[in-house]
Symmetry: C2
Subunit: 180 residues, 2 copies
């Protein structure tokens, strides 16, 4: 086996020789945890306000957003555009229930559950069913001390909607169509 | 404002006084990156082999798995049980295309795209459609140097299946209308 270039043992040995040991970044420092809670609350507030620009500022410029059954959105501008489109049609209520938050230096993550309710702005348009699921976001502490979301993935926990059950008539029609 | 208990400035000052500065954990050390690639390949291989016990050993004991439209699974045993149930009915082909891997000390993450194909073991059972989506896994380097997955979330990128059309008659009318 080859020897690891950066083994823990080697680092500790180096640290001992020079009179110091490597310091891992502080985990869950109280100020960082408070800032992440405030960031999470900002998502809820800006979605309720339908403010796509303000939501964009909660993400890093190079963010990657991956929501259930939606195309991957890369970069803050793509996310702003997508949410502006959403808010043109719907009022949004986003609820976030965090189950786990970890910070380590300028990196962190937050994991939990979401509930996402859309109310159509067009009279008579039926409301889509409320989505429920899990989220995992990666967090980055910027040079100015602000925490932002750098990666955002959501995964619905509702049962997969069943495709339309083909009635005997519809199924036959389909097959007939295929032969034309 | 209260002074942070662990401010970067204070840590640097302490480090300077004692003749050393805090060392963040090495990022993307070559041995760690190689191990994470091998871990990803192990997932593909153990799914292809239908080996639920072997898959379980790729996860930390306290793993949380969140797959699209599936209940959250907490703990290695729950994941083994769920996959054993899957393999009793289906052959599985899992494909993983990584877009980003980061390690920092004993923590890391891997993000990319998946394709998940099920082949029924029962003759005549129709195959479910192949799922495609995005994944984000958090990684932990155990005390023995092995990397394992500690959090695993998947999010389908396919369009949401449409709810059943109101009536076969109305749906047929609609399609006919489109051809006029």
């Amino acid at each position: 086996m080859t020897r690891p270039i950066f083994s823990i043992t080697a680092l500790i040995a180096l640290g001992s020789l020079s009179g110091c040991t490597p310091q891992p970044p502080p985990r869950n420092a109280p100020d960082d945890m408070t800032a992440v809670t405030a960031l999470r609350d900002s998502f809820v507030r800006t979605f309720a306000a339908g403010d796509a620009e303000a939501i964009g500022k909660l993400y890093t410029p190079d963010v990657v957003v991956m929501q259930s059954h939606q195309p991957t959105e890369t970069g803050r501008e793509a996310v702003v555009k997508s949410n502006a489109g959403l808010f043109s049609q719907f009022g949004v209520k986003l609820e976030l229930m965090s189950d786990e938050t970890v910070t380590m230096g300028d990196f962190g993550y937050d994991r939990g559950r979401y509930r996402f309710t859309l109310t159509p702005k067009t009279a008579g348009m039926p409301a889509p069913p409320t989505d429920e699921g899990r989220y995992l976001v990666l967090l980055h502490k910027e040079a100015d001390g602000h925490w932002l979301v750098s990666r955002d993935i959501g995964s619905s926990s509702l049962p997969m909607p069943m495709p339309p059950a083909p009635t005997p008539t519809a199924a036959r029609k389909g097959r007939e169509g295929g032969h034309n």
